[in-house]
C-alpha cells in the first residue's frame, strides 16, 4: 500500500492459484453415520421380527385377540395385554389432558407473575426428567395406598358403571393409569404450550377488540387455532404412555387374566415383556418378541400420526421446512 500503483507482478501469482482436488473424507463419515442411523431402526425391526417368527407362524393374527397367556400349556395370546395397553394409556390421557392443557394455558397466559410461571415450567420439566423406576417406587408407596383407601368409595358410588365394579386391589389398571398420567403430562404441556404460544397475537387482540373476555378469547379463538398442535400433543402422549414400561410393570399387577374392571390387576405389552423376558424360554421368548413387535408397530404408527399432525401444524403456523 506504500507506493501508489502496485504493479501486477507484485502478487506472487496471478489469476487463480491451482489447488489439488481432495476428496471430502469427512463427508463420507457423516454420510455413513446418517445411513447407520436409519439402519438402526430397520435393524431393530428386523431383529425383533426374526425372533418373533416362530410365534407368528404358530399363532398368526389370532395372537392379537386370544386372551389366554399360559406358559405352562404353551398357549400365548396378547389380547388381554393389548387391551390393557390401550385402556391404561387412554385413562391416563383422560386425567392428563385437562391438567396438561391447564398448565399449558397457565404458562402461555399471564395470570401470575413470570417468576411463578417459570417455576411451574421448571417443575413440569422436572417431571419429565424423573426416571420411570422412581415413579414406580413412589407409586408403590403413595398411589397404591391412596387407591386402596379411596377406591372402595369410588367403586361404590360409580358402581352402576360396570368397569368400576368388583373388589379394589392396589396393584391395578387404575393405579397404573394415574401414574402414567403424571408421566405423559410434560409431553402434553410442552407441545400444547408451543402451539398456544405460536397463535399470532393479532388473533387474540382481534377477539379482545370485539369485547371478548380473556376466557372467551381462549375458548373461542386461541384454543381452536392451536387445536392441531394440541391434537398432536395428545397423540404423541398416547404413544409415550403405551410404550412406558417400568412404572407400569411395578404398579399394574401384571395379571394375564383379561378383565374390564379398573380396580383389578391387569397387564400391558411392555410390562409383560419386562416382567417375563428374563425367565422365558423357547416359544415364550418368541411370543414375547411377537408382543414387542406388536407394541413397536402400534407405537410407530401412533407416533407417525402425531408427527405428521405436528409437522402440518408447524408448516401452517411457522412455515418451517
Amino acid at each position: 500500500m506504500a507506493d501508489g500503483n502496485v504493479p501486477p507482478s507484485a502478487r506472487a501469482q496471478r489469476g487463480i492459484r491451482v489447488i489439488p482436488r481432495r476428496i471430502d473424507v469427512f463427508r463420507i463419515f457423516c454420510w455413513a453415520a446418517s445411513v447407520a442411523t436409519v439402519g438402526v431402526l430397520i435393524w431393530i425391526g428386523v431383529t425383533i421380527l426374526q425372533a418373533a417368527l416362530p410365534a407368528i407362524s404358530k399363532f398368526g393374527l389370532g395372537f392379537l385377540t386370544n386372551v389366554a397367556w399360559n406358559p405352562v400349556r404353551e398357549q400365548y395370546g396378547a389380547g388381554a395385554f393389548l387391551y390393557g395397553t390401550v385402556v391404561s394409556s387412554f385413562i391416563a390421557l383422560i386425567f392428563a389432558l385437562p391438567l396438561g392443557l391447564s398448565v399449558a394455558i397457565f404458562l402461555s397466559e399471564n395470570f401470575l407473575p413470570s417468576a411463578v410461571r417459570q417455576t411451574v415450567r421448571f417443575v413440569v420439566e422436572m417431571l419429565a426428567a424423573i426416571p420411570s423406576v422412581v415413579y414406580g417406587l413412589w407409586g408403590i408407596f403413595v398411589v397404591i395406598p391412596l387407591v386402596q383407601k379411596f377406591g372402595p368409595a369410588i367403586s361404590e358410588t360409580l358402581g352402576f358403571i360396570p368397569i368400576f365394579r368388583g373388589p379394589v386391589i392396589g396393584n391395578s389398571m387404575f393405579t397404573a393409569s394415574l401414574v402414567l398420567a403424571l408421566m405423559v403430562l410434560p409431553t402434553i404441556t410442552a407441545i400444547s404450550r408451543n402451539a398456544l404460544v405460536a397463535v399470532p397475537n393479532t388473533l387474540r387482540e382481534g377477539a379482545y377488540a370485539l369485547g371478548a373476555t380473556r376466557w372467551e378469547a381462549i375458548f373461542g379463538v386461541i384454543l381452536p387455532s392451536a387445536s392441531p398442535g394440541i391434537v398432536a400433543a395428545t397423540i404423541l402422549a398416547f404413544g409415550r404412555a403405551m410404550g412406558e414400561t417400568m412404572a407400569v410393570a411395578m404398579l399394574i399387577g401384571n395379571s394375564p387374566r383379561f378383565t374390564t374392571a379398573l380396580f383389578q390387576p391387569a397387564g400391558t405389552l411392555a410390562g409383560l415383556i419386562a416382567n417375563q423376558f428374563n425367565e422365558a424360554e423357547g416359544l415364550q421368548v418368541s411370543s414375547l418378541m411377537y408382543a414387542a413387535l406388536l407394541l413397536m408397530v402400534i407405537t410407530l404408527f401412533v407416533n407417525l400420526a402425531g408427527e405428521l399432525v405436528l409437522r402440518r401444524t408447524q408448516r401452517m403456523t411457522l412455515g418451517v421446512r
Binding site: 471430502d24 438402526v40 425372533a51 398448565v103 395470570f111 422412581v134 410404550g243 407416533n303 421446512r321
Partner: protein, 303 residues
C-alpha cells in the same frame, strides 16, 4: 366538571340495565375460570413435591459413605450399599455416549450441513423422530438379540448399546437444532474466504453450535442414567463390582445399575433393601438434576 353532561353520568347510564348484568356475569365467569386454571396448574406441583419429599425423606438416612463403597446385601441381611450399581451406571452411560455422540453429531452435520434437502436427510430426520417415540424396552430387546446372544453373556456393552440407541435421537435432534441455529452469515464468510466445507464446519459452524450440542448431550446423560427397561435384559444385575481386566470384561459379565437395583429392591419385603432403593432413587434424582441443570447452564452461557 360543572357541565350537565359529566362523564360519570354518561357511564352510569351505560353501566346499568340488562347488558350490564350480563357483563358482570361474564366477568365473574372469566375470573372463576382463571382461578380454576391456576388451581389445576398448581395441582400438578403436588405429586412432584410429594415424590421429591418422599425420596429425600426415605433416602437421606442411608446416604452415607457405606452406600457408595459397599455391595448390595443378600436377601434379609443388613449393611452394604450399591457402589457397584453406581459404577455400572457410570460405565454404561459413558459407553453409550461413546457410541451415540459420533453417530448423532455426524448425522446431524450431514443432515444440516451437507445435504439439507436430500431424501436421505429427510429420512434421517424422520427416523430420529420415530426413534424418540420407540418404547425403551425395544432397545433392550434389540441389544439382547444382537449383543447378548452374540457374546453369550449379559454385559455392560449390551446395556450400553441399548442406552445408546435410546439417546441417539436426543443427541441427533438437538445437534441438528444447534447447527440450524448457527447464522448463515458465518458460513458465507468462511466460504467467501476460500474455506472448504470441512474447514467451515470444523472451524466456524461446530464451535458455534457446541454449547447447544452439549445441552443435548447432558439431557441424554440424564435420560440414560435413569432408564431401566433397556438394561434389564442386557446388563441384568450383579451383586459384585465389575472387575476390569481387559476389554472382555465389558462383554462377559452382567453389570449392576442404579435403576435395576431400585426395580429389584422395590418389591422385596426387607426393610433395609427398600431403604436402599429409596437412597438409590435419591442418588439417581440428584444425578439427573445435576445433568439437566448443567445442560441448561451451558446452553444459557451462549450470548
Amino acid at each position: 366538571m360543572t357541565s350537565p353532561n359529566t362523564p360519570t353520568q354518561v357511564s352510569d347510564k351505560f353501566f346499568s340495565g340488562k347488558k350490564h348484568k350480563l357483563a358482570v356475569l361474564r366477568s365473574l365467569g372469566n375470573r372463576a375460570l382463571t382461578i380454576l386454571c391456576c388451581l389445576l396448574a398448581l395441582l400438578t406441583l403436588v405429586p412432584l413435591f410429594s415424590l421429591v419429599f418422599l425420596v429425600i425423606k426415605n433416602g437421606l438416612p442411608l446416604l452415607t459413605w457405606e452406600v457408595f463403597s459397599g455391595l448390595p446385601p443378600a436377601a434379609g441381611l443388613k449393611g452394604g450399599g450399591f457402589g457397584n450399581a453406581i459404577q455400572g451406571t457410570f460405565i454404561m452411560v459413558s459407553m453409550a455416549l461413546v457410541l451415540a455422540i459420533p453417530l448423532g453429531v455426524l448425522s446431524a452435520i450431514y443432515v444440516n450441513e451437507y445435504e439439507p434437502y436430500s431424501r436421505l436427510s429427510n429420512t434421517v430426520r424422520f427416523v430420529a423422530k420415530l426413534l424418540t417415540g420407540i418404547p425403551s424396552i425395544m432397545a433392550g430387546l434389540f441389544a439382547y438379540g444382537v449383543v447378548v446372544l452374540a457374546f453369550g453373556s449379559f454385559s455392560a456393552f449390551a446395556g450400553a448399546v441399548a442406552l445408546g440407541i435410546l439417546i441417539l435421537p436426543t443427541i441427533l435432534l438437538t445437534a441438528e437444532q444447534a447447527l440450524l441455529g448457527v447464522q448463515t452469515a458465518y458460513r458465507e464468510a468462511s466460504y467467501g474466504l476460500g474455506a472448504t466445507k470441512f474447514q467451515t464446519i470444523v472451524r466456524v459452524v461446530f464451535p458455534e453450535a457446541l454449547p447447544a450440542i452439549m445441552t443435548g448431550i447432558m439431557l441424554a446423560v440424564a435420560r440414560a442414567a435413569g432408564e431401566t427397561a433397556p438394561v434389564l435384559f442386557t446388563a441384568l444385575f450383579s451383586q459384585y463390582w465389575l472387575k476390569f481386566e481387559n476389554l472382555d470384561s465389558l462383554v462377559n459379565q452382567p453389570v449392576a445399575s442404579l435403576s435395576v437395583l431400585i426395580y429389584n429392591f422395590s418389591t422385596v419385603p426387607f426393610e433395609y433393601q427398600l431403604q436402599l432403593a429409596w437412597t438409590a432413587s435419591l442418588v439417581l434424582l440428584i444425578l439427573v438434576t445435576i445433568a439437566n441443570v448443567l445442560g441448561q447452564l451451558v446452553f444459557s452461557k451462549k450470548p
